[in-house]
């Protein structure tokens, strides 16, 4: 009888549980963040409201003016009431929300793209390129954003032709706003990405990649960038909120998206005069902006915690 047969079976064979994939782990951590979950649910509902609502009535209904019912308080027919020229606020909130969310997402996308490119080039190559790019970044950061946006809005908002997209015509000013906010919203991320690159490029795995003959662009894209994904995702999320707020400012001041295209921002534009007399003009729209910004921020917080590599709990 051989040894192995005689040996008592002490250890139960426990089947290997497959290790948690990164995605599962991130989801588990995100789920623990209750406010982030609530925020995510609200975001989904907002998207359903804005994009689903559009299935029930055309944009023309949201833009139809009827001065006979101007400044009507909320009723069954007009759940959010009507504005000073008799447009239905509920319907405008649906279509305005679309534009606001689209502006938020595309401006954030633009800003993040520029920020990532500038930050990684500056951080990876250093030297004069770094100095040049960072001086530009600092120069832009030193100008108060709201002034810059207003000045740009003044010059740019009517310079773009109207665009057809997905069967709808958008005022050219939407493109202008996206460009302005995107072009002015990349500096913070560029600095973060640069800092990440500065420290990551000193890692042995970068030298190892170079030692196997990996060209620079591949090191940047494949080896270093994936390590900076956490701050980029967080910044992108918060960037959406920032862009929506930025659009609201500009539109509220009357320099943003031109009527008849509705946004949550320009719906507030004229409500200032009726702040006491017709509060439904700003309560509903303001509420939408508020919960959008809040939920996005909560979601961003949750993502930050979920992606934090220093967090050890699974």
């Amino acid at each position: 009888m051989s040894m192995s047969e005689a040996a008592p079976k002490v250890f139960e064979q426990i089947p290997d549980k497959p290790p948690l994939s990164i995605q599962k782990m991130i989801w588990m951590r995100f789920r623990r963040h209750k406010m982030a979950l609530v925020g995510a649910v609200i975001m989904v509902l907002l998207f359903v409201f804005c994009f689903g609502g559009a299935l029930f009535f055309p944009e023309a209904e949201a833009n139809r003016t009827d001065t006979s019912i101007r400044l009507a308080p909320p009723s069954a027919e007009h759940p959010f009431g009507t504005d000073p020229i008799g447009r239905d606020i509920f319907r405008r909130a649906v279509y305005g929300g679309q534009i606001s969310l689209l502006i938020g997402i595309s401006a954030a996308f633009l800003g993040v793209s520029i920020g990532v490119v500038v930050g990684s080039l500056a951080g990876y190559f250093g030297g004069w390129l770094d100095s040049l790019l960072m001086r530009i970044t600092e120069a832009l950061l030193s100008i108060p954003r709201i002034f810059l946006l207003l000045v740009l809005a003044n010059f740019l908002s009517d310079k773009f032709p109207d665009v057809e997209f997905a069967g709808r015509t958008y005022s050219g000013s939407v493109v202008g706003i996206v460009l302005m906010i995107g072009l002015m919203g990349w500096m913070g991320l560029a600095r973060i990405v640069r800092a990440e690159f500065l420290s990551l490029k000193e890692n042995d795995f970068v030298t190892a990649a170079r030692a196997t003959g990996t060209p620079n662009w591949e090191i940047i894209l494949k080896h270093i960038l994936p390590n900076t994904i956490a701050p980029i995702v967080v910044s992108a999320t918060l960037g959406v909120a920032d862009a929506i707020l930025g659009e609201s400012y500009i539109s509220f001041l009357g320099m943003g998206v031109r009527a008849p295209t509705a946004t949550w921002g320009n719906m507030l534009e004229r409500s200032y005069a009726y702040i006491d007399t017709a509060p439904w003009l700003w309560i509903f729209t303001g509420f939408f902006i508020l919960i959008t910004i809040l939920s996005i921020n909560f979601v961003g917080d949750g993502i930050r915690d979920a992606l934090d590599p220093r967090s050890r709990t699974a």
Partner: protein, 332 residues
């Protein structure tokens, strides 16, 4: 005997680093060569320029602050030091492989092992993804990683330190370089894993015609692996010899001191205390005129302080930089 053309020949390499505190003289005018199929060990204390001497030939030291003042690194007759970054890309990995000291940091934490291993194979071997995967599995098997197919899906943090180092070695071996440079590959590992890696290196030597430069401060590893040894101190070569001569007819006081500080189980008596080398290596900021080892040397004479001893042949294929003949204790 006809002398063969070495695979890699480094001539009069001098490297400096410009720092805020002044110029660091990292490498001062060193020359050495590696023949085809030969394993050369570079030994010396921390900070003596071992790593810089090999990193600089692949263009892997940051410039600035680093600066290669002069010298040549002839690989198959081509000077690597005069090449542009783009030209060097063809040599890195493909011709000259590099293994790093710390396997914990030399793998990218955000990429799967498959991505990291196959990427270089695809590029250098010009094969498709599937073939590259097969090669990766084959080489992981060679370095003793079982279940390689499943393991490829893992991220580096799911590997132990020894496995990571073996995976790094597999990555480099898969590219089939002519010269493998191992920069203290066992220093960060515990002794059992060290033994695994050294056995692996021996096996590679037997099976392939790969040349190796093995950087280490472990003389035990040197005795096991190397055919020739270069002893460095303060950015200079102190002694260069085949491994047997180095251990048995040492010709430099620094090498002697190093050997005395090595615990031996074979001939030293229990009562004998392990020797350490008094003092510490000189600052690399300002180079003194004399021998850099003079202040710690037990053989020191006046001349040592004044003039740097040249690296001269003391026997066939055996060079030492010392004014003293250590076998007699008399000046040469």
């Amino acid at each position: 005997m006809i002398k063969q053309t070495p695979l890699l020949e480094i001539k009069n390499l001098t490297v400096q680093f410009h720092t805020a505190d002044g110029i660091v003289h990292a490498i001062n005018d060193i020359s050495y060569y590696v023949n085809k199929g030969e394993t050369v060990a570079i030994v010396g204390e921390s900070g003596c320029g071992k790593s810089v001497s090999v990193m600089s030939i692949l263009g892997l030291i940051p410039q600035p602050p680093g600066e290669i003042l002069h010298g040549e690194a002839l690989y198959k007759g081509q000077n690597l030091l005069s090449m542009s970054e783009d030209e060097l890309l063809a040599f890195r990995g493909q011709e000259i492989g590099l293994i790093f000291q710390d396997p914990m940091t030399s793998l990218n934490p955000t990429l799967t092992m498959e991505k990291q291993l196959t990427e270089a194979i695809i590029k250098h071997k010009e094969v498709n993804k599937r073939a590259a995967r097969q090669i990766a599995i084959e080489y992981l098997g060679k370095v003793g990683i079982t279940d390689a197919e499943q393991r490829l899906k893992n991220y580096p943090h799911q590997f132990s330190g020894g496995m990571r180092q073996r995976a790094m070695i597999a990555m480099m071996l898969a590219l089939n370089p002519m010269l493998l440079i191992a920069d203290e590959p066992t220093t960060a590992l515990d002794v059992t894993i060290q033994a695994q890696i050294i056995d692996l290196a021996k096996k590679i030597k037997e099976e392939t015609q790969m040349s190796m430069i093995w950087i280490t401060h472990d003389l035990g590893v040197v005795a096991e692996l190397a055919e020739r040894v270069i002893v460095m101190y303060a950015g200079e070569i102190m002694e260069e010899a085949d491994v047997i001569s180095l251990f048995h007819s040492t010709r430099h006081p620094y090498t002697m001191a190093l050997l005395q500080s090595l615990p031996r189980v074979d001939f030293r008596r229990d009562t004998e205390r392990l020797q350490s080398i008094p003092g510490s290596p000189p600052s690399c900021y300002n180079v003194q005129p004399g021998c850099p080892f003079a202040n710690r040397c037990s053989f020191v004479i006046d001349k040592c302080w004044e003039k740097k001893p040249p690296l001269l042949a003391v026997a066939q294929e055996h060079r030492a930089a010392c004014w003293i003949d250590v076998t007699t204790g008399e000046p040469r």
